[in-house]
């Protein structure tokens, strides 16, 4: 029975975690390039240099000495987001939508006093949210206003598009839609929905919620398939360009869709998860192997890679 199940997975071209680590991450992602994606400040600077749009950065808080001046520095900023540069899984992020006399009002309507806010930033600086527990820096950047495209299938929060890029070629993609269960966070572990996107057209196909295949959003009840992702071509170009930018051959590119600014690169992940296969209802390995067979000429140019991917992955 087990052997039969193994054979079926292999036939479906499913990429397992061992193979992902040994055959793709270890082979294509040089360790020395990891800081570029693990640190959002570096990612931002790099993206700027390569003409890839990211949410505009207002402030960079690097030391505890900056904290007393924080309130003054943020004066006049009605809305912004605070993030740890090395945070993972969305931890430590605070989204502020307005300032009141008492403090900052977060997106969920909670009021954080100025001193509590300073304390939170201090937590970020001392590395509470960073994976390794090392000291960190805090980024204050523009708040993203989600595009209306996914409004019908999101519960609060900002949906984001994840594109797995292999050797610069967009290989598979999904959009992560927040739910009530995920507390408005676009995190599959916490219960967000992952809806696969057809690379060729940029429309959602099937969706997975906590390893269940679903057709409708559990909170809004709207169908999750058949949604056209706006700016799809541009998103693919952003994704393809990260290869030249980072030098990492196997990477997860997270892009948010702002209603005013269009697609913005949120962050990069050098160890992207495998749930994207469930969201698309198909295995990743076959596509990676197809990409390995591309002639070098096409691989050399980001534009060519996007054309190839759109032509190939239905």
């Amino acid at each position: 029975m087990i052997r039969e199940a193994l054979r079926r997975l292999r036939r479906a071209g499913v990429l397992g975690i061992n193979s992902r680590n040994a055959d793709y991450i270890m082979r294509w992602n040089p360790r020395s390039h990891f800081p570029l994606v693990d640190n959002k400040v570096l990612t931002k600077r790099m993206a700027e240099k390569h003409g890839i749009p990211t949410p505009p950065m207002y402030l960079l808080i690097e030391k505890h000495g900056d904290l007393p001046a924080l309130r003054k520095l943020l004066e006049g900023r009605a809305e912004f987001a605070v993030k740890p540069a090395r945070g993972s899984g969305g931890s430590g992020i605070v989204l502020v939508r307005e300032q009141s006399v008492k403090g900052y009002v977060t997106q969920s309507g909670e009021v954080i006093s100025f001193s509590d806010f300073a304390h939170h930033v201090s937590d970020i600086l001392s590395g509470i949210f960073s994976l390794s527990g090392l000291e960190d820096v805090a980024i204050v950047e523009a708040l993203i206003h989600p595009d209306a495209a996914f409004a019908a299938v999101s519960y609060q929060g900002v949906p984001d598009v994840r594109i797995v890029v292999y050797r610069g070629v967009p290989a598979m993609s999904m959009v992560r839609l927040p739910t009530k269960a995920s507390d408005g966070k676009a995190n599959l572990h916490r219960g967000a929905i992952g809806a696969g996107i057809e690379i060729s057209k940029g429309t959602t196909v099937t969706a997975v919620h906590r390893s269940q295949i679903i057709a409708h959003h559990p909170d809004t009840g709207n169908p999750v398939s058949g949604i056209q992702v706006p700016y799809w071509e541009e998103m693919l170009r952003i994704a393809a360009g990260t290869y030249e930018m980072t030098g990492l051959g196997y990477i997860g590119v997270d892009i948010a869709l702002d209603r005013d600014r269009g697609p913005l690169l949120l962050e990069l992940n050098a160890r992207p998860g495998l749930a994207i296969q469930l969201a698309n209802g198909r295995g990743l390995r076959e596509r990676l192997e197809q990409i390995d067979r591309i002639p070098t000429g096409i691989l050399a140019d980001p534009g060519e890679r996007v054309v190839w991917a759109k032509h190939t992955f239905h």
Binding site: A22, H189, R190, G247, T296
Partner: protein, 521 residues
């Protein structure tokens, strides 16, 4: 920063992991074989072996004040026996060990003193059970000058009816004759003469003569029984060659020994096990006792006396208290191998790689039941405190320090409770890896927060299960002994770890996770 588009090609080269693994396996196998075939190490060092302590003590009164010579027969190796830890001593004489034929002797020599001399000999005899009985050495014709012509004629008359029988049957008939069961019954006059002969020469010699007359090769033996007993003189028996093995006959009872392996021969041929010249034996004592020392000590002794490089560089050369550490330490890599298997092959969730192994080490002090209970209790309490402490918004390092203090406070209370309720296991709690426990609480908390309670509990249970398995492995004494004798097995473990590191197939858990992608058959 622009990556080379061909960078993949160099990485495409086959990883030399397989070659390294094969090399390590061969290295390991070669060293183990060398030890077994050239240094005589036991193939299965953990087989429980019976060992006996032989102790011989004798006091000799010299006749005159002149040079005295004492000969004591020593046990010889062979037939599954190994002699170890030999100690020879005497009050004033010099001693030397020599071989004569198949016998071993210790000879004491020196100026005797009027008040007599004492000699002593001690050794440990290791008896390894053998599946097939040792092949007997065919006899060589002995010296029969001590047999009187008429005695031999009488014996030949008695043994004549047996000439048609096979050697084994002739031995049986002779043994029966000692018991008085003659077949066929000889003439009454001959029987009387036979009784007289037995009285004159003793049962042993009479039986020897009868066997000689029946054309059976025989020798008289002095020896001891491997049993807890003390004797003032060794046992004497007759060994008779039945064509393939030596049969042991008891000259007094006419019985054939059913368990020859339980006897320890000291001298073959008509030789006394202890003799002094000139001098008189005042007292002698052969005591045999079952050894209670573990098989570990036996290896230690054996290796200590060896001059071979690998013997001298054996872990047995370490002081005993450090040996104990290495017995455990050498098995830890197996524990991590198991963890690699569970994680990479099966997809078992655990808190890190080392946590389960360190827990397993701690269980050695607390025992499995209490260890797991304490582990669960402290993690649960720690989780509750950690959730609450989150409100205090403490910075990372001080917060971890608080949690560490909590863990140590728990240990202290457990130890005190152990003292009150007489639970030693609770008092041994201080040796649990408190740092690891603190980190487990933190990781458990984060996991529950980020991925839900279910994931957290699954990982905790996974870790506990792996630490139980690891505990089972490091507590397995046979395995400890094997690795202690052959530390080169670590290379084989490393080889397996390397091979596992190159396993890029699916994990068992992924069959479930991606079941929706497999489709139907």
């Amino acid at each position: 920063m622009r990556p080379s588009l061909l960078s993949g090609d160099s990485a495409m080269k086959k990883s030399p992991a397989l070659a390294v693994a094969v090399f390590l396996l061969i290295l390991s196998a070669a060293l183990v074989s060398y030890r077994i075939f050239f240094l005589g190490y036991p193939v299965l060092p953990a087989v429980v072996e019976t060992s006996w302590r032989l102790s011989v003590r004798a006091e000799i009164q010299p006749r005159q004040e002149e040079e005295i010579q004492i000969l004591l027969a020593l046990p010889a190796e062979g037939g599954g026996r190994t002699i170890m830890e030999e100690q020879i001593s005497s009050s004033s004489l010099t001693a030397g060990v020599f071989r004569e034929g198949s016998n071993r002797f210790c000879q004491w020599k020196g100026e005797s003193t009027p008040q007599g001399v004492e000699i002593s000999y001690e050794s440990t005899i290791l008896v390894r059970p053998q599946k097939t009985p040792a092949k007997g050495i065919p006899p060589v014709s002995g010296d029969f000058a001590w047999i009187d012509k008429e005695d031999l004629l009488l014996a030949e008359r008695l043994a004549r009816p047996w000439t048609a029988l096979k050697p084994a049957e002739r031995i049986g008939a002779a043994a029966a004759a000692v018991r008085g069961e003659w077949k066929p019954v000889p003439a009454a006059a001959d029987l009387d003469a036979w009784s007289a002969l037995q009285k004159k020469r003793g049962g042993l010699r009479a039986l020897h003569i009868l066997l000689r007359a029946a054309q059976v090769s025989a020798q008289s033996v002095e020896g001891l029984r491997l049993a807890d007993e003390v004797r003032s003189r060794p046992l004497r028996w007759i060994e008779a060659w039945d064509g393939s093995v030596w049969k042991i006959l008891w000259p007094e009872t006419g019985e054939i020994e059913a368990d020859p392996a339980s006897l320890l021969p000291l001298t073959l041929g008509d030789i006394r096990a202890l003799a002094a010249s000139p001098g008189r034996l005042i007292s002698a004592r052969w005591s045999m006792s079952r050894q209670v020392t573990s098989a570990w000590g036996l290896h230690f002794e054996r290796l200590r006396s060896s001059g071979r490089f690998l013997d001298r560089w054996s872990l047995f050369s370490l002081p005993a208290e450090f040996q104990r550490t290495f017995r455990i330490l050498l098995l830890v890599p197996i524990g991590t191998l198991i963890i690699s298997v569970l994680r990479n092959l099966i997809g078992f969730p655990t808190f890190g790689i080392f946590m389960p192994v360190l827990m397993a080490l701690a269980f050695r002090n607390t025992g499995l039941f209490y260890g797991l209970g304490i582990f669960a209790g402290v993690v649960f309490l720690g989780y509750a405190v950690r959730s609450w402490i989150d409100r205090l918004r403490l910075l990372l390092v001080p917060r971890m320090a608080v949690m560490l203090t909590l863990v140590i406070a728990c240990f202290t209370i457990l130890a005190l409770a152990g003292q009150q309720f007489d639970l030693r296991q609770f008092m041994a709690v201080g040796l649990l890896p408190f740092v690891i426990l603190t980190m487990v609480i933190e990781r458990f908390y984060l996991l529950v927060e980020e991925s839900g309670v279910r994931q957290g509990i699954e990982t905790a249970l996974g870790s506990a299960a792996v630490s139980v398995i690891a505990y089972g492995i490091i507590s397995w004494e046979s395995l400890q002994m094997t690795f202690f004798l052959y530390p080169e097995l670590l290379a084989a473990v490393a080889a397996l770890q390397i091979l596992l590191g190159r396993y890029t197939g699916y994990r068992l858990s992924e069959l479930f996770r991606f079941r929706s992608l497999g489709g139907t058959t």
